[in-house]
């Protein structure tokens, strides 16, 4: 497929403070790329830079093979949808959607046609004469998307467009955006801090952290084969459990890892790891890979724990448990040590003693640098 957007060593500094620290990225035509990352990772800055609203400090950028680094936003063939909708409050929906074409001095018939087409796609034809203040949040965001569609851009840019909507509407708009992407076949770049939006809509996810790309890949590839601890912890809810561990012995393609509170584990290693005996490593295990076992269980790797908090979600249950000597690192369960996701209802109550087990093949191992060094768990190849 043809190249839609190419970023080459893109950098941005604000008063000497680096926000983007050399980002290179190729996006192909028709992709739905979602950029995720925590607040302040530079994702919105990157989007604004792609839009041409901010200039780059260094690096080059091209759209469809044409260098656009120095071009004005309007000459780049992009359209942007903003988090706050940014509709012109004194104009009707139709005027809002046609404003860009009107400013480009296109004939009125063409403007009307483009507006009607966009309104038809978004099912807001009966709202065209209304002012933005007469619309609900979801309708406003639809108008903002319609305004982008009328300009038939090469690339759609979305800056957290759903974060002002309530949960139900957000789910609905997520589906609609995916449908829209399929219908238009246009390249879309979408910025969000919501990993659910990233996982559900993206054809590819770009995980950003502190101005750098951590990993790029399909949602499932990132989920199952995180390149490092940051990506492993960022994608997936509830978060992956991280336990402090130490390399006890190194083999040809495996390592024996000692984790306080667990029996020694033998884990398969990827080819070049750079690990040494005695290195402090991190063991990672997803909450859904932990299961409850009987006290006399001998399968896999098991350890005792005590329930601290139970979250009943109906179809599934999330347990937060204390697991004695296991040392968790930045879990999102506060002081509790282990997060467990059970795919069934549970009658457990806080204080209940339990026994948890996991298959060592499901565990991830992260080097002191954060890099993933374990082999990909079996059955997770996307």
């Amino acid at each position: 497929m043809a190249q839609s957007l190419q970023l080459h060593q893109v950098e941005k500094h604000y008063a000497g403070v680096p926000v983007l620290r050399g980002i290179s990225l190729d996006i192909e035509e028709g992709e739905f790329v979602v950029m995720v990352g925590p607040s302040g990772c530079g994702k919105s800055t990157l989007l604004r830079a792609i839009a041409g609203l901010d200039t780059l400090s260094a690096g080059r950028m091209s759209i469809k093979g044409r260098d656009v680094t120095q071009l004005d936003p309007v000459d780049r063939g992009i359209a942007m949808v903003f988090q706050s909708y940014a509709l012109y409050p004194h104009m009707t929906v139709a005027e809002n959607m046609g404003f860009g074409l009107r400013m480009a001095r296109r004939p009125q018939a063409e403007i009307d046609q483009a507006v009607q087409r966009a309104a038809g796609i978004l099912r807001i034809t009966d709202q065209l004469h209304k002012k933005p203040r007469q619309l609900s949040g979801g309708q406003r965001q639809r108008v903002a998307i319609g305004r982008a569609i009328t300009r038939s851009p090469e690339i759609f840019l979305f800056d957290e467009p759903l974060s002002n909507l309530d949960a139900a509407l957000r789910t609905q708009m997520r589906v609609e955006l995916s449908t829209l992407h399929a219908a238009l076949g246009a390249t879309m770049i979408y910025v969000t801090h919501d990993q659910v939006e990233a996982m559900t809509m993206a054809t590819r996810i770009v995980v950003l952290n502190a101005g750098l790309v951590e990993q790029v890949g399909t949602p499932l590839a990132l989920y199952h084969q995180p390149a490092n601890r940051f990506v492993a912890g960022f994608l997936g809810s509830p978060r992956m459990n991280f336990f402090a561990a130490e390399v006890q012995a190194l083999g040809e393609a495996h390592a024996v890892v000692a984790t306080p509170g667990l029996p020694p584990l033998m884990l398969g290693l990827a080819e070049t790891t750079g690990l040494s005996v005695g290195a402090s490593v991190t063991l990672g295990i997803r909450p859904e890979k932990l299961r409850l076992v009987d006290a006399d269980s001998t399968q896999g790797c098991d350890f005792p724990a005590q329930v601290r908090l139970v979250e009943q979600l109906g179809r599934e249950t999330v347990l937060y448990a204390d697991a004695g000597p296991l040392q968790t690192q930045d879990s999102d369960s506060g002081t509790a040590n282990v997060t467990v996701q059970l795919s069934a209802m549970s009658r457990l109550v806080p204080g209940d003693p339990i026994r948890l087990a996991f298959d060592p093949a499901d565990a991830y191992l992260f080097a002191p640098s954060g890099k993933t060094v374990s082999v990909v768990p079996p059955g997770t190849h996307p």
């Binding site: 936003p73 359209a79 909708y85 940014a86 509709l87 012109y88 404003f99 933005p132």
Partner: protein, 283 residues
């Protein structure tokens, strides 16, 4: 909520509140009432010293006709309009342009420039009296409309710029990003997006500036001399006779002079709509 509404259950407090309010209103309006009543008095009333009592043999339009028949008030009135209207328009245009640039663009010296606009407001007018008069005389503008228009525009634009800059700065920034992404040039952003949203601010500023300029007496006296240029405020002072004063006619002239600012207020009132930007962004 503060202040708390006085509940229906406390009739005494309520009545006291109404009484005090009424009294305050009466004191506030007393001069206006006196002038209005005097404008209906006959000359005999004035001669006999009945300044405050109920008019004896009141005349409804007599004094008002006298104003136009015996004094150059019509001319003064016209002069005031010729000075005030262009001044207000110029102030609005200049302050909108200034405000847009100062609110939306960062450039070297922007803060200094803005500080100068604001700082000018703190200069006492009086210290400018001699230099401004000399300046106008040297420029050959003394005792012309241009002198007053120029001075009022220069002086009012400072405050108006502060007002407009702050209003424009409070407009959601993403509106400007959206417009830029759509390829709207800055002058067109100003015309198609900023100005329509500025309507309440422009209306408020127009009323304020109009009132300031129309009511100005100081500069009218300093910069004009002849009746053909004098605005209504300076003209009114001229109506006082050397020996006797026809206070009833002066009062009627005063009433006439007060009409335009009041009219202006009611004309602009419908534009004072709060929440004009409602719907632009998530509120």
């Amino acid at each position: 909520m503060y202040p708390r509404p006085i509940p229906e259950s406390q009739p005494l407090k309520r009545r006291l509140y109404m009484a005090v309010l009424g009294l305050a209103l009466l004191i506030w309006l007393l001069p206006l009432v006196a002038v209005t009543m005097t404008s209906f008095r006959s000359t005999q009333d004035i001669m006999s010293g009945n300044y405050w009592g109920w008019p004896v043999a009141p005349t409804l339009v007599g004094n008002y006709l006298q104003v136009f028949a015996q004094t150059p008030m019509a001319r003064f009135f016209l002069n005031s309009l010729l000075i005030t209207i262009p001044s207000v328009l110029l102030v609005l245009v200049l302050s909108t342009l200034n405000g847009f640039v100062l609110a939306r663009y960062r450039f070297r010296g922007a803060t200094l420039l803005f500080a100068m606009f604001v700082g000018g407001n703190f200069l006492p007018h009086q210290i400018l009296m001699i230099p401004v008069r000399d300046l106008m005389v040297k420029a050959g503008l003394y005792d012309t409309f241009y002198a007053l228009i120029l001075f009022h525009v220069a002086f009012q634009t400072g405050f108006a710029t502060l007002f407009m800059r702050n209003f424009i700065a409070s407009l959601p920034g993403e509106l400007f990003d959206a417009a830029r992404a759509e390829g709207v040039s800055p002058p067109r952003v100003l015309w198609y997006i900023v100005v329509p949203l500025l309507r309440p601010a422009l209306a408020a500023l127009a009323v304020l500036t109009f009132t300031f300029i129309w009511n100005d007496y100081f500069w009218a006296v300093v910069l004009t001399q002849s009746d053909s240029v004098k605005p209504v405020t300076a003209g009114l002072a001229n109506l006082k006779g050397e020996w006797i004063s026809a206070w009833n006619v002066v009062a009627a002239a005063t009433m006439i002079a007060a009409i335009p600012p009041v009219t202006m207020f009611f004309l602009m009132q419908r534009h004072f709509i709060a929440g004009l930007t409602a719907g632009a962004v998530k509120g």
